[in-house]
């Protein structure tokens, strides 16, 4: 398997595992156990790291292969919307995730006890964690759609 395909696979895996980290953070915030605060801090750091690694690996694939090889194929087909709408949204909405991840991680590190947070802060951090999770899995779904469109454009099946 060549480097480009490895990067694409890594991008998808890292992004998905990163998303799972933020649903984990959400669950720890809801449960509020004493051991859970430490887990939430660690998992948020892991999730942010995975988000940045997904960014780098996806960026590598996008810049070295997608633009020159996959994009022209999709744009020349009946499925041009797969690039024109889906990929364009994906590559830009993705940029929200590392920022949300950094915010959640920085703020979780600053909390010493669950009681430090009032109910409103707790709900807000929960919502932001859910957003990070949902956006990560939206990226996965959009990526799958683009891949299927590219394969279909060259006559391949599902």
């Amino acid at each position: 398997m060549n480097t480009t395909k490895i990067m694409l696979l890594l991008h998808a895996m890292l992004g998905d595992f990163g998303g799972v980290c933020f649903i984990w953070v959400f669950i720890e915030i809801i449960n509020k156990t004493s051991a859970g605060l430490k887990r939430a801090k660690v998992v948020s750091i892991v999730g942010t790291t995975l988000a940045f690694l997904a960014w780098l690996s996806g960026g590598y694939y996008y810049l070295t292969y997608y633009g020159s090889t996959v994009k022209p194929v999709i744009k020349a087909s009946e499925l041009k919307w797969a690039h024109g709408i889906v990929m364009e949204i994906k590559e830009h909405v993705f940029l929200i995730i590392p920022i949300l991840a950094l915010v959640i991680t920085i703020l979780m590190q600053s909390i010493n006890r669950w009681d430090d947070m009032n109910k409103n802060v707790e709900k807000s951090l929960s919502v932001l964690s859910i957003f990070a999770f949902l956006l990560s899995f939206l990226m996965a779904g959009m990526g799958a759609l683009i891949a299927i469109s590219a394969r279909s454009a060259i006559g391949g099946g599902l």
Binding site: G59, L95, I96, L100, V103, I111, N118, N120
Partner: protein
């Protein structure tokens, strides 16, 4: 709870995501702007990526050490970030759908 940290983190994220969204819209509809941001790093997406994260980190440091937000309730910044995230997502999505339809 470190109110200053909550304020500086939230506001930095709000500003970074808002400017990212503005850059995205401008790039799609204003050709000279597209040429400009592409010329900075060689690719528009790389410029936007680097700009967003670097701006976030610089603003975070500046706001934190400026001691702003010491008396701001922490949830206000987070509410603002939640709204910014939703609005940015909607604007980005609509921008690309409209731009595609216009072609």
């Amino acid at each position: 709870m470190n109110k200053k940290l909550f304020f500086s983190t939230s506001v930095s994220a709000i500003v970074s995501l808002s400017l990212l969204t503005a850059m995205i819209v401008l790039r799609e509809f204003v050709k000279p702007f597209n040429v400009f941001i592409t010329s900075i790093t060689g690719h528009h997406w790389v410029t936007k990526s680097l700009f967003t994260v670097i701006l976030f980190l610089i603003l975070l440091a500046v706001l934190y050490y400026s001691k702003k937000g010491e008396n701001v309730e922490p949830e206000k910044g987070l509410y603002g970030l939640i709204i910014t995230t939703i609005v940015s997502f909607i604007i980005m999505t609509v921008t690309f759908v409209v731009h595609f339809m216009m072609k």
